[in-house]
Assembly symmetry: none
Homo-oligomer: 251 residues x 2
DNA sequence: CAGTGGTCTAGACCACGCT
DNA sequence: GCGTGGTCTAGACCACTGT
């Protein structure tokens, strides 16, 4: 009864088992590469390959010159994106403020002709005029979220709120701005995906190397007519954000 | 002016550059390990290490005995996970059926003592008895979704619905099963994250290499008492699933 | 069959940290 | 200084594919 699983996997599995059983606690130092070589025979590459697996899995951290250690369970501070009813704020400001961080953003608006995809999402004809705004959101000066937003210009026309981020209605969120036009918007529809950041996003979000992101396609509708009034692509660092939907019932 | 970047990284970077520039197209065969050894000198481990990086990055696939190939960009049909109100089905069945696929699942239930994390989410004492069920969901025989579910045993006790997937109430979803106990559950609260699959998940979901996943922490509450009745960790392939929240208003 | 990738050995050299 | 991990060599053997 020979085992056909490679030896370096056996080594890794044994160490993993000792970690998961609690035999080795977070922060504990693991056997050195040469200790493993002595115990299992073979060359140093064996232990190195085993540790590489565990490091890739995030179970172990290696400190050059000091040894391998069981990773301490640091759950990085998570920013929360609460999808809340009847909120007047922009969804971004809420979560950041609740974490005690300082939120801010940069933006850039231009009018363009709706692409086929945007037109589809806004229920308008391709080529119709839309206001396109790009956002970069910062928490404590660190970019953490990107968004591209589109609104039909036919809706906001030449009103005070045509430019989302200019004038008295800057930064208050779609719901409040639309109310100026006597439009009531309800909860948005959000389509959430997980994917890898592309290079531009990774650079903008300071992710080296590129990591997973939450990509949300969000659309607000006029509650009276069910017509879309704003659609946006929101991209957030997967390691920093949780997007929350629904709420605990109040009995 | 020597470069201090390791040689295997240089090899990997050069191949990556050729792929990203389009010089090497998806599906193209890459230089063999021995060809690289001949070109760069050194042993086969050099090329092997370089290819390991690229494979881990998802840029390259290796076929044992056949060579390394530029990964082809398959964007498969997206399955939709609709988070819908007043639904009696389990959330999984809906989306799959709408895509014309055949959904099925495997499961495995055991009773255990609640861990600290699970107890926190269920609002019970750590160590209290819970029913723990592991699910693997398949669409057209392909595993596409994993879930770990916990329910307080104090709730379902020795009733017909203590085992989620046994008896007349198998596969109908939490809402319908809880109604048997005269418990009305509302919409769940979902906390959505994006992260990389760990190796076990990647293997279970057939993701080679590990890719981004949607990780959803879902909790159902008793609407009358606001007490949690079920909590689950759901993991879905990020390249296959969209999770949808909210709905277009009906004027 | 020849060619390929995956695993593994035995050991060398270097960069790093003080466990 | 000495032990540590990270890189690298030269090559062996096996498992797999048909490029």
């Amino acid at each position: 009864m020979t085992t056909d699983t490679p030896k370096y996997l056996q080594v890794a599995d044994q160490i993993r088992a000792r970690i998961e059983s609690g035999d080795l606690a977070p922060g504990d130092r693991l056997p050195s590469v040469s200790e493993i070589s002595a115990e299992w025979g073979g060359s140093s590459s064996l232990a190195t390959a085993a540790y590489r697996l565990l490091v890739d899995d995030g179970l172990v951290v290696s400190r050059h010159g000091a040894g391998h250690y069981v990773r301490s369970r640091e759950t990085p501070e998570l920013l929360v994106r609460q999808h809340r009813r009847r909120s007047e704020d922009s969804p971004f400001g809420q979560g950041v403020a609740e974490q005690g961080a300082v939120g801010s953003w940069r933006h850039d608006s231009t009018t363009e002709q709706a692409s086929e995809a945007v037109a589809e999402r806004l229920g308008i004809e391709p080529g119709a005029a839309v206001m396109h705004t790009s956002y970069v959101y910062l928490a404590d000066e660190q970019p953490v979220q990107l968004a591209e937003s589109w609104e039909p210009l036919a809706l906001t026309g030449h009103s005070l709120v045509a430019l989302p981020e200019v004038g008295p209605y800057a930064g208050v969120g779609v719901a409040a701005r639309m109310r100026v036009l006597s439009i009531e918007v309800g909860d948005p529809v959000e389509r959430v995906r997980a994917r890898m950041a592309n290079r531009a996003e990774a650079q903008a979000l300071g992710m080296t190397p590129p990591g997973p992101v939450l990509a949300i396609e969000r659309t607000y509708y006029d509650q009276a007519t069910a017509r879309p009034v704003e659609t946006a692509d929101v991209v957030m660092r997967g390691d920093r954000w949780v997007s929350v939907y629904g709420q605990v019932p109040t009995p």
